[in-house]
Symmetry: C2
Subunit: 430 residues, 2 copies
């Protein structure tokens, strides 16, 4: 079945792309030489869109184009082309605040639903590096800075109500991508659903228990209600270790097609979840020669550094730039009121922390029982060994989602993760 | 200074209106006879827009037109014409769910920013009736039904996420009207501001205390943040006893120009606040012949009946029609899970109640210290007597806003109001 597309739209391919780029002088100049000198490589990591890297004598560009369906699945799963439009909008908006943490936009074609951004080299996907046990010393601080800036500056703590509502209106149309999260994060893992899959038969019992766990299901839907009804900031919307590219020195955030005005905690929780998934997967990759204990420790140190650095940066931004419609500083202007303001800001961040803990749990569970799994665990070839790692994810994830208030600090969270591994008798470890 | 307006816009007046109506056959037919037979009466109760009632031999219509400024203030306070567009949208949307509780829309002119609705006769403004001590036996049940239906059916408990986000986008542009609330409800009463006024000098001390009350100011801004970032339902946005027209048999809700997707509790709290303001004003109108004790009791009975009827109707609607993206029923489908679902729905309403209590407090305070006051209190001619009524509003309002959790039920709220009057020695009563 051919999906209907707007007039003027056509998917480009490796053959037609050079001609297209050549018609845009600033892109041609960036590549250098002539179109016949350009090498086009289709990236395999584009699950949703098609992605090409184009290499010329003078430089590279990365071309991303929406297809009218999910690339990885095919025409049986249609998906609104407009997602590239929201990615473009989010890159522009976040780019104002986070500088080089997001790729530079070089070109946007509304008719072809196509975006050209700078090529990130020699960066690799963070998840792949972490699965290989590589450590990235600058990652925690850089991603914390990105998170604090992208969330603070697009919230009503920094914006006027008019600016904020204009952003809400613009991104409210990104319903197709939000719908994927609404279904796949909060709903399907708790149902019998044809899109679900898990390590079977080892996790069959746990999957059934999740579907019958009333407090868990209610907690998932309270969170879904929060996701559906909160417009705190322009969030990335799918911030996991596969949406981040790194080197030893640099961290860049990509794949903004899920962006919308939603709960800040969704981004924070998603990232923490993927760190915990990576942590629990490390033992599954351990060998006698590479026991992975250092990598595992590093992952939890990243979680701790990420939150404490985020917390500090967010407070600093708020103190320096808080002039938005929702910033109480407008009412607390006397010297004697400054301490109360500081306490209030910390209380705000504590509420954000607790919401983030709940979202962390939801994200962990859906990556074990839902459609989209993570390489960190999938690459553990032995299903029994993988299942033992995944069980820990499920038990902790369930607890985070149902009782987020028990985890008052990030150290409570990382301690629980460490204990979950230590509790397992060594002989039964993954 | 002439304010700029879009091409084609012009304000109509009593002279030009019949000609305009005559050019629309369905309106002319409703009025009957010829334009020269029609009597045009400009209503004085249009604070924001100009309102005309047009009477013909066969029937009446009500014409409402945006001016490029606040009618009551004049050109010194410009205001976006588009407000009538949002009133029209809200009337259409709520009209689908609440039936005759909102006026029927007869005509909308996007170029003239003009709306023609049915004339409500013999209805009068509820606030005026209550200030005169009149009781309306059907009001509580009818307004509770309106509130439950308008909020439930425009929330993600009933709507798909796509439907809900489309509504959010459409109403996000009503920034001018939301801005009035953001400033006048949550900000200005806690500042020295030229728009503020209060019963002076009697309340000068209390006004100063409010401006220095740190927990109160922080609570007001936590609520403002909630107002700015919550899109639970299409709310009326200014639901007070002056936006309601009544007879002994009927209740109708008007003036939807503040409508947007916001917190459900804003509507519930606003209405409760105006009931409490009315309650505290009753003693100020008491005379030996008309002691007003029965009217005062009736007002609190209305508050109790309103919440309990709202609670019951909302639960009933949820059970019967809850198929939206945010309804947990999709996950709790087994007979054994029904009780948990009922408990969860009640917990949702309890959270809504506590948020409503806080909004009640904010609305009471702003009607004492901000720009917009209420007839209930303003009509108490003696300033000392009025101030004694207002003081009670301030003390209770402050407590509701700072410690909403202390008022677990509507009876806690009405008991506090009764006690506030009983505590005052009889000789010092208003």
């Amino acid at each position: 079945m051919a999906l209907s597309v707007p007039e003027g739209y056509e998917p480009l391919d490796a053959r037609s792309l050079p001609g297209y780029l050549a018609r845009h002088p600033h892109l041609a100049a960036r590549l250098g030489g002539r179109p016949e000198d350009w090498r086009v490589v289709e990236a395999n990591d584009g699950n949703v869109n098609q992605v090409f890297r184009v290499h010329g004598p003078a430089g590279d560009v990365c071309v991303k184009q929406s297809l009218p369906y999910v690339r990885l699945v095919g025409e049986s799963w249609p998906l609104a082309l407009g997602r590239i439009h929201f990615e473009h909008l989010a890159l522009r908006e976040h780019g104002k605040h986070v500088g080089r943490r997001v790729p530079e936009v070089l070109h946007h074609d509304a008719r072809l639903f196509l975006l050209v951004v700078e090529c990130l080299t020699p960066h690799r996907i963070l998840r792949e590096g972490m699965t290989d046990g590589v450590r990235y010393p600058r990652f925690a601080a850089q991603v914390a800075d990105y998170l604090a800036r992208s969330l603070f500056f697009t919230s009503s703590l920094a914006l006027t109500a008019e600016e904020k509502r204009a952003g809400v209106a613009a991104f409210s149309a990104n319903t197709a991508m939000c719908r994927i999260m609404e279904d796949m994060v909060f709903t399907e893992p708790y149902q019998v659903h044809p899109r679900n899959r898990w390590t079977s038969p080892a996790l069959d019992g746990l999957a059934a228990a999740v579907r019958e766990d009333v407090p868990l299901k209610l907690a998932a839907f309270r969170l879904k209600h929060h996701y559906l009804n909160t417009t705190e900031a322009l969030i990335h919307g799918d911030l996991h270790t596969g949406s981040i590219m790194v080197t030893q020195e640099d961290t860049r955030i990509i794949d903004q097609e899920f962006a919308f005005h939603g709960p800040m905690a969704f981004d924070v929780g998603s990232l923490l979840a993927h760190l915990l998934l990576s942590f629990f997967s490390q033992e599954g990759h351990a060998t006698a020669r590479a026991p992975r204990e250092d990598s595992a420790s590093w992952v939890l140190e990243v979680a701790e550094a990420l939150w404490s650095s985020f917390h500090e940066t967010f407070l600093h931004l708020w103190e320096a730039h808080g002039a938005g419609a929702g910033d109480p500083a407008v009412l607390l202007t006397r010297p004697g009121e400054r301490e109360a303001l500081r306490t209030e800001r910390r209380a705000f961040l504590q509420r954000l922390w607790e919401q983030s803990v709940a979202y962390t749990g939801a994200e962990m569970l859906r990556r074990i029982f839902g459609l989209a799994h993570v390489l960190d665990l999938e690459r553990i070839a032995d299903p029994e060994r993988r299942a033992r790692c995944e069980e820990r994810c499920v038990h902790l994830g369930r607890d985070l989602l149902v009782e987020p208030g028990r985890y008052r600090t990030v150290r409570d969270l990382t301690a629980a993760a460490r204990n979950a591994v230590a509790r397992t008798p060594r002989g039964q470890r993954a």
